[in-house]
Amino acid sequence: MMELLQTIEQAGQGLLGPFWGPLWTLVKIVVIVAPIMGGVAYLTLAERKILGYMQDRVGPNRVGYWGLLQPIADGVKLLMKEIIIPTGANKFLFVAAPVLALVPALVAWAVVPFADGMILANVNAGLLYILAMTSLGVYGIIIAGWASNSKYAFLGAIRSAAQIVSYELAMGFALVCVLLAAQSMSLVDIVKGQQHGYGLLGWYFIPLFPMFVVYFIAGVAETNRAPFDLAEDESVIVAGFHTEYSGMGFALFFLAEYANMILISALTSVFFLGGWLNPFEGWPVLGAMTAWVPGLFWMLAKMSVFLFIFLWFRATFPRYRYDQLMRLGWKVFIPLTLVWVVVVAAWMQTPLWFW
């Protein structure tokens, strides 16, 4: 596999010279983006199926076998729908907002490692980059709400903007703990820092367990997913910031939300569950039995677990009330994470730190 890639690379270099580098990067980007788009499409199907089964229904089952063509049908339907720009809306921003929502959700993937060596750009400040990119997601929402010139969209936008920024703080503090443990901001180093030869015992979710939980819950809140989906509280503010969107504009917001879900799952796996690492590595029997499994499999498996939890949450929990939501963010998560930063830092000063 690796040799094949190398041959391709050498051949390309010989053929195209200086233009080969950018072209090869472009190919890699497509290889990352296309599966994400596919993943988003089938995540919607998975959501409807899983929710269906949890609620004792079957979910979509008409388009294709077991409803497998449903996402494609949905896509085509949205494509054929008229893009309505409401009167009084700011045309340019109205159209730009969904793009602004989607782009950060995509570009953050540039620094996510899928397996050993499978990463587009191993930058030193990877984690910082991720945090910066996720903090941009709020623009799509605010601009959509404002440009729509609709009260419901506007209120929804303000609500979710305040929600997102509040939970971003908890996320940031939780990530500081990961940094402390890994002593590096590169995502590859963070994963490698969890490789101690004890399998999953070396992963950061053990010393940083509260942060692991906080990070994932804050991630759920960041993506405006149930039970934190106040931005689209149907009974109060219709569909929130994307009330006025139709057709492809709406589809882009949808894409952004699901791409963010996948991103959060991937990041949680990388930061706390050892990314592509084998959970049984170095274990007596299981380790040898699973040694052949590629890292990509473990990564995807871990992501799938978190994605399932996302859906499970939606099926299980009732929606938060706004004051409860803000209280959880500011009065529970921030103090907790702050304390844990100090605890981890102090812990690291002692010889009892094994990670």
């Binding site: 030193n124 400040a125 910082l128 903090s135 623009y139 404002w146 901001m185």
Partner: protein, 218 residues
């Protein structure tokens, strides 16, 4: 020699000048704020070219991700009267233009000075694994500990000032007190009344009443 870096630099530089100009010329304040975001992005790009990756990304994280969000909040919600805002523009334009001209002139004088051109130090190129963040970390918390703590004090002042200037207590608002809710004992809410078995109607009414009073307490 035009390397790719030079091209990217001029790209970002042109973008930031353009964005900066649009910030002050845009008719719509929301557009102006968004152009400021663009300006921050291009400045981050320039910093990145200088290999100051921590500062570049922090610029995006803090200014674009936080400060500009507040800006947008304010700009979007306050109905800024644009006409009134622009009234004084032409009156003060000559002074502003003069100031700008002086600054540009001075800058040309300094940069055009032969000494400057000669003393321009070589930018050191770092290896791929060079971490600007670690470099900063080694200094901030040791050599620069005093300014670092002062920064904390500044942030504290900002917190106090922000609260003192914006917070208004509304006495009429009803709040949920979780501690109180959790501390509630069964006996506070539910009262078991032993009733004669024959009176069917009243047994029906009692639990409803208890439930109603329970709701009121929330």
């Amino acid at each position: 020699m035009m390397t790719i870096e030079t091209i990217v630099f001029y790209l970002f530089a042109a973008l930031s000048v353009f964005a900066g100009l649009r910030v002050i010329t845009a008719r719509n304040p929301v557009h102006a704020a968004l152009f400021l975001v663009l300006a921050f992005f291009s400045m981050a790009g320039i910093w990145l070219l200088l290999e100051a990756e921590f500062l570049a990304i922090t610029l995006v994280l803090v200014y674009v991700g936080a400060v500009m969000v507040l800006f947008l909040f304010v700009v979007m919600m306050l109905d800024v009267d644009l006409v009134q805002l622009r009234e004084g523009f032409w009156r003060w334009f000559p002074i502003g233009a003069l100031l700008a001209a002086v600054m540009v002139g001075e800058m040309i004088w300094v940069l055009g000075n032969r000494q400057t051109a000669e003393t321009g130090a070589e930018v050191i190129k770092h290896a791929a694994d060079y971490s600007n963040t670690k470099e900063l970390g080694r200094l901030i918390y040791t050599d620069y500990v005093y300014p670092f703590e002062l920064a904390a004090v500044l942030l504290l002042v900002a917190i106090v000032a922000a609260i003192a200037l914006t917070l208004r207590q509304r006495r009429t608002a009803k709040r949920q007190d979780v501690a109180q809710q959790v501390a509630v004992k069964r006996n506070d809410r539910v009262r078991l009344v032993s009733m004669p078995a024959s009176a069917r109607v009243s047994t029906q009414a009692q639990p409803d009443e208890a439930a109603a009073s329970d709701q009121q307490k929330h």
